[in-house]
Symmetry: C2
Subunit: 604 residues, 2 copies
């Protein structure tokens, strides 16, 4: 595939590189005396020199040869003595929205950690604002050196006819995106049932992508690794980041899939299969690394792909193999290896100098020959992005929430109790049990029952204003007093509110409606924590450090309100995610996620 | 890159494959109980089933799962018990012309040996008939199942202004070929001095190829593995088959080049570096295998890529690694790995069933799901190709050679001797020494001197008729009595004649002029052996077995005439090859191949 992510295409500057390599013209940059990690031979080459011109590697001085002949009066020379040079790290599958920041700010956060390329699926923005939103999001990305390669979301909406989203993307739209200069693949094909049943739009999306000479990235969590997995792969889906154990990883590699080994903020999969993968001795050429999602706090406190490499090496993976997974293997999968993924002549000069291959502490990060980060600090900066209004005004619930809004009337009953369907939460699990609980009835309306940890839940369509619907349900397992609300709520990103009293729920909903979306914690009529995410109700306009701090404060608020669950925000955020069993609440009401039928709230 | 070498593009049949994988529709072909060589994981998977539909793999039954559900009443079932299934073998660099047959006949010769794809550089036909000739050659190829992927010749003529060829190919022509559906890369860029000096047409050919998203294959025999090799790679050339030792191989791999390890008929490089490569333990992901040239006798007597694999394994290479080099690595280099190179769902069903991974005796060869060869015999056949007249009438020397034609007058001298420049041949080496010898002068003309092993040589421009020139020289080292002539003579493929008397030389030249070119041996007024190659003077219209027999007879004739040299035909064939030192004779006269200046015949 023609790579648009470079300073100069090779066919425009190859004569210049030829001159520089032979010492006929000085290089722009020379790195000297570095331990070069050769991902093509799986070696560490000591005391290597690297000369760079036109944003590309022009010359490697190996085995005693030096790049002295490439140094002129204006050549920047970096002494790499004691350091390890690797190709720039690539995250093979990432949703930037999980970090609650835009791509430019994301770049500022991850580039200092050695990440020079990300393959991003803007699935969340797609669900809120469709392809125009995706386009706006990646206009922001063009302002920074990070190579933000785009994989348009394939499943918008994720599930049809059971909830209302802000947009939908068709196979025809996908075909159009394949002409965009930043599109390198189709985003994760979560709709594997659609593939297996040959649902037309799903098959057509895959076809449009393959016919455009791009790969289809996957998402296959089904336990059927025989016929279903074979069919899924045969359809043209060629990668997957959803594997729980080594058996799954191996089954996919044997069928020729690239497997994206994942270590995100929420899904920490490496310990689950990496030691076995290492022990097996199988070829890892089709293994990539990815984070899938990185919360702002993970980025600020732990890092990005450097953290993944660190973990992989801690788990026993050979460090050069680990680097291959984050560089050349990834570039090969996406058809970009002619330009990226190795530090060799002609390739883009995306290079990271690390202290060692254990801590993976990045000293210097170079993209297209420019030093873009040093000692953990980005050397580039851009002003806050000027988002168009329609990207920052996406809270359209068509009413001003009051306590009355949260009243759930029970026809023909004034007081007493009622049996209602509820979502039973298991801490640390995304599954929600389909259970029945008894809740109080007062003045003809259903109430939460904090004494028995039963909270009321409401979901408001925030995309269709007065025409939108909202629905009510109950949940058990969070154990809080007060109310929480969020607009990240997957995958329709509607306004999700839960609480033990209608007043606090109303305040929480109102607060988010006013600030354009985000996450809020309320108790006893007071806002305890607020993370404003005005861009599509998903992303902040602030610095990642500020967002991380606010998220940390929200986490404290959860605890303060009585929740002892790990990652309660995430767990709450999938309460509407209708593609995971068993019972979910969308703006249209309860969905049985095994039968995909709507279910009533009241149980006789 | 979009692959045109398949029965059906995946995007047209993926729904069918999904059905077959799930047992909703029967497969066309099922292979059962085979040991599957997994080139993606580097494993041998026992008792595997493979189901095929639409020419592609639809399902792999592994780990106890079977393809029984894919078998219908019309499904062909092959019992693979005890056999080893590999992806179809690919020769990453081959000149079909070396086998002296057209591509369709070549297919009949190599497919039964497990070769399903070849990457061919029609350099020789290009030099005789230019791109129209290349196009005609590959029209023939379309009639057979072998995937003959084309890399247009980059160096036609190989060297300018010192000889006359039948055609020339410019960067503009190359840009045009990049739109042809069978072109996958640029043919070997032999003109590395042109790259290093940034000769415009050379650089432009590389640029046109890269801008068309294709790779530039290389040819870098220079000992300068530092600056020159770096510059060559930085220009965009990404592979090389010209390596003599392991140091060269390693140097190229470290710079990110794909290295085509070669075991041809004439150049047997594997023993020279493979044992060291194995011992080094470096990653072999960028290692490919190739033959470069295969003479008809090698194909008939020893095989093709099976022979290369056999040799590689004998030399200590792990057999699965060897198979990777001939399959997935090759497909990845050319950007075809999404369609070829592994037996996995969605890929073209190019599969070989071997007896074992040592003899590599191919039992069954499958291309695009069709069984195309069994037990060493091709199951396809095509009538002789109907070549256009201009492809079979390329002997245009503008005269009828007689003994008088070979008279080399010496101005101002009637009898005695004269000092002349001569090419000194070292047996088994392509180098020709620039020497001076004394030859007899009779009746004012130079004669050969068989008593001192000095033969007369003549080169006739055979492309420009009466306007063409011819020249004379002398050679020592062959030790024959009689005359030999050939039109394969690299790279201009002019008519090359050598002998110890003018009468036999005339008969040899006349014989080839009459039959349209080829190779002939003459002694004492008799034709001892003749290999007719009427297609461009390079290729026969007969069966490979017939050609091999005629070539063997010619070899006997050489011996009969007194030559003890190994491969004398090859050694003779490079006497005009002006890109190799030291002294060569072209139709324009002697060329000093160190200075690229013409040299006179007579030495004062």
């Amino acid at each position: 595939m023609i790579n648009r992510f470079c300073k100069t295409p090779l066919w425009e500057c190859n004569d210049e590189l030829v001159r520089v390599a032979q010492g006929e013209k000085p290089a722009d940059l020379v790195i000297r005396h570095v331990n070069l990690v050769s991902v093509t031979t799986h070696e560490i080459l000591p005391d290597a020199d690297v000369a760079v011109a036109c944003g590309r590697v022009a010359y490697l001085g190996l085995g005693g040869h030096t790049a002295e002949h490439c140094i002129g009066p204006d050549t920047r020379v970096i002494d790499g003595s004691g350091l390890y040079a690797t190709p720039g790290l690539m995250d093979s599958h990432i949703h930037v929205e999980s970090a609650m920041i835009g791509v430019a700010e994301y770049a500022r956060a991850v580039v200092p950690h050695g990440t020079t390329g990300i393959f991003c699926d803007p699935h969340e923005v797609g669900n809120v604002r469709g392809l125009p939103g995706v386009r706006a999001m990646f206009e922001d990305a063009r302002r920074v050196p990070l190579k933000a390669m785009m994989t348009p979301p394939s499943c918008v909406p994720a599930v049809t006819d059971i909830e209302d989203t802000g947009a939908s993307i068709t196979a025809e739209d996908i075909a159009d995106t394949m002409t965009w200069d930043n599109v390198v693949a189709l985003g994760e094909m979560m709709n594997y049932p659609g593939i297996l049943s040959r649902e037309q739009n799903t098959i057509d999306e895959v076809r449009a992508t393959l016919a455009a000479d791009r790969v289809v990235t996957g998402h296959f969590p089904s336990p059927d690794r025989d016929r279903a997995l074979n069919a899924y792969v045969a359809s043209g889906v060629s990668s997957c980041h959803e594997s729980g154990g080594f058996d799954e990883v191996l089954a996919k590699l044997r069928l020729g899939m690239y497997v994206q080994l994942r270590q995100g903020s929420a899904w920490l999969n490496l310990p689950g299969y990496l030691p076995e993968l290492v022990a097996s001795g199988v070829d890892t050429r089709l293994c990539l690394l990815c984070t899938d999602d990185c919360h702002p706090n993970t980025l600020v406190d732990e890092g990005h792909m450097d953290r993944v490499l660190r973990t992989a090496v801690e788990l026993g993976l050979d460090p050069v193999t680990a680097v291959q997974m984050a560089t050349i293997n990834c570039a090969e999968y996406f058809g970009l290896a002619r330009d990226m993924g190795s530090v060799t002549p002609g390739k883009c000069a995306d290079i990271v100098l690390f202290d060692d291959l254990e801590s993976f502490r990045a000293r210097t990060v170079i993209i297209d020959g420019d030093v873009v980060a040093e000692d953990g600090r980005a050397l580039f900066d851009v002003p806050p992005y000027e988002w168009p209004d329609w990207m920052t005004h996406t809270m359209d619930i068509g009413l001003t929430p009051t306590a009355e809004t949260f009243r759930v009337p029970v026809p023909g009953r004034a007081d007493g109790t009622a049996r209602v369907r509820a979502m039973g939460i298991t801490p640390g699990d995304t599954l929600t049990r389909d259970i029945v609980v008894e809740v109080p009835v007062r003045d003809g309306a259903l109430l939460a029952d904090p004494a028995h940890d039963v909270l009321k839940v409401a979901v408001f369509d925030r995309h269709h204003g007065a025409e939108g619907t909202h629905s009510f349900g109950f949940v058990t397992g969070f154990g809080i007093h007060g109310a929480l609300a969020q607009t990240v709520s997957h995958d329709a990103h509607n306004l999700l509110v839960m609480g033990d009293n209608d007043e606090d729920m109303a305040l929480a909903a109102r607060t988010l409606a006013e600030c354009g979306g985000g996450e809020v914690a309320v108790a006893d009529g007071k806002v305890l924590a607020l993370v404003e995410l005005p861009v599509c109700g998903l992303m902040s306009t602030e610095r990642v450090e500020v967002v991380a701090e606010k998220v940390a404060r929200a986490r404290e608020a959860w605890a303060q309100m009585g929740c002892t669950m790990p990652s309660p925000f995430m767990t709450m955020g999938v309460m509407s995610l209708a593609c995971v069993p068993e019972l979910r609440l969308t703006n249209r009401g309860y969905v049985n996620c095994l039968t995909y039928e709507m279910e009533p709230l009241l149980v006789e």
